[in-house]
Amino acid sequence: MGVPKNFLKNINIKPVARNHERREQLWQEGMNASGTFVPKGVLYEDMDRDFIKLIEEDLVISVEGKEVPVFFLTMQRWAEFARTWKFTDKDRNVQMPFVTIVRNPDIQFGTNPVTQYTIPQKQRFDYMKVPNYDGDTMGYDIYRIPQPIAVNLTYQVRFFSYRMREINKFNKIIMQAFQSRQKYIKCNGHFFPVVLESIGDESTIDQFEQKRFYVQNFEMQLQGYIMDEDDYEVTPAIKRVMTLFETEPNISPSRSQTDGLNPEPELVEYSSEMIWEPGSLATPGLNKLTSEVIIDQSVLFTEFSLSNARDCAIISDDCTFISPLTQVSINDGVSFIYFNFPIQVLPGHILRSYLTVVDESIDSSMTVRGYINVI
């Protein structure tokens, strides 16, 4: 019986993450691998370890029911013996078949264009902001890491055997694995391509009167990069800090000060009037002294207006005296000091002014206006 075209024969009960979800998954995998907020570092030994794992686990073959051993070989003789003794005969010679891995000691700068010569001088870049709390303040730490350094590691993987059929078997596995020229390994959460560069034959078939065996050499190149965790930087960033400080309440803001002087619109307006009456006291400066006004609120005076008095901010031909001259006393009238607007006054402070009166036959006054401002 035929099956309808759109009939699902296999239902994927574990959907594979894609796009952004997959990227988040990869990032999470990196986090899990390192156990920190930054990617785990990758060095040469990490790449060697995972390359060996690739050969041992993914490209392994078995002959006569036994797994073919894989030996990663270095120069130390005892280390070589330590790796191979389990697979030797009574003469302590390794029995075929087996696989050897030798890494060329000369590691070259990488040819992977993704990370090639783009950022000079180990410039570090913000990787992520990590919130922290030190018991008092909330803040962030900025984790910064430099661009990884691309490297190429070349490995010689040789398969030794006495039989053509075993050579075929291993060669087939390699061919299938590198069908698309490259195979990826995952090293500390980083994905690196392994490229099959060439396949060579080093068999000793021409040794007619000596021991003969097949040797097939697979040259592979791991295109990775190194990230040294010692190069990571963690720097503190934004912190939310509360700073308390005391101020002298009678310090007048400077003329150039602009911030913090405009009261909030909802503040309550306050005004007070200083009056001069004909016949009242005159001052040494020929200006007329107004009556003193005792302030009963904490007020920020910002402006003033004059009635029957001249407004002379500077001395000129028309203004032989500065008017008005304003004074404040913060010690119950014992002494007065000059001030300019705006000024913050407190309850009990006394204001007075000197005016150049226009018509001395009528009252003259100065009205100061501001806003109640509780400090």
């Binding site: 270095t74 003469d91 010679n93 390794v94 078949p97 050897t100 053509m164 009167e209 000596q210």
Partner: protein
């Protein structure tokens, strides 16, 4: 009626002072020395090609699948070359040191008496120590032995020189 037996023509060279009786006498002296005095024994595992069930394509077999005729003890005069330190990898890693090649001389008459033949690829066992049997494989069976070195005064070939190289247990391990 067809005669399958090869024609035999008597050898008459050197006949004035050497004949077949002298030849047998010389061989007798030599065998007394080689088989009696030296008594260096090897074991011939002659492969039974017909009974060995080999791979259809490559004619390869596993060591345990090799079938051979009943092993035969042969007294020979042998020499084993010194072992060499070698490495499997060209960069000097994975050392191995195996026995050197074995070369032995054997009287053809002994082989004829024991109804055995040494052929290319047969295996040779030699007990170099009480608890150790090492195997070689024949790389030169010495079947042509009419040169001066292997004849008695140029009368007729008497001895064969057989060359062998070592085999791993993976290839052959005897009984």
């Amino acid at each position: 009626m067809e005669n399958n037996r090869p024609n035999k023509v008597p050898i008459t060279r050197l006949t004035k002072f050497f004949d077949d009786i002298d030849f047998d006498l010389e061989i007798g002296f030599g065998r007394e020395y080689m088989e009696g005095d030296l008594n260096m024994t090897i074991i011939l595992y002659s492969v039974d090609i017909e009974r060995t069930d080999s791979d259809d394509v490559y004619k390869e077999v596993r060591s345990q699948d090799i079938r051979y005729f009943p092993p035969v003890e042969i007294q020979v005069n042998l020499e084993i070359a010194p072992a060499e330190n070698q490495t499997y990898n060209s960069n000097g890693t994975l050392r191995y040191r195996d026995y050197g090649n074995m070369t032995f001389n054997v009287y053809q008459k002994q082989l004829d008496e024991k109804l055995c033949e040494i052929k290319y690829g047969d295996y040779i066992g030699y007990r170099d120590k009480e608890d150790s049997m090492k195997f070689w494989t024949v790389v030169n069976d010495g079947k042509i032995f009419s040169d001066n070195e292997h004849t008695v005064f140029g009368y007729k070939g008497a001895t064969r020189t057989v060359e062998c190289t070592t085999v791993d247990p993976n290839e052959f391990e005897g009984i």
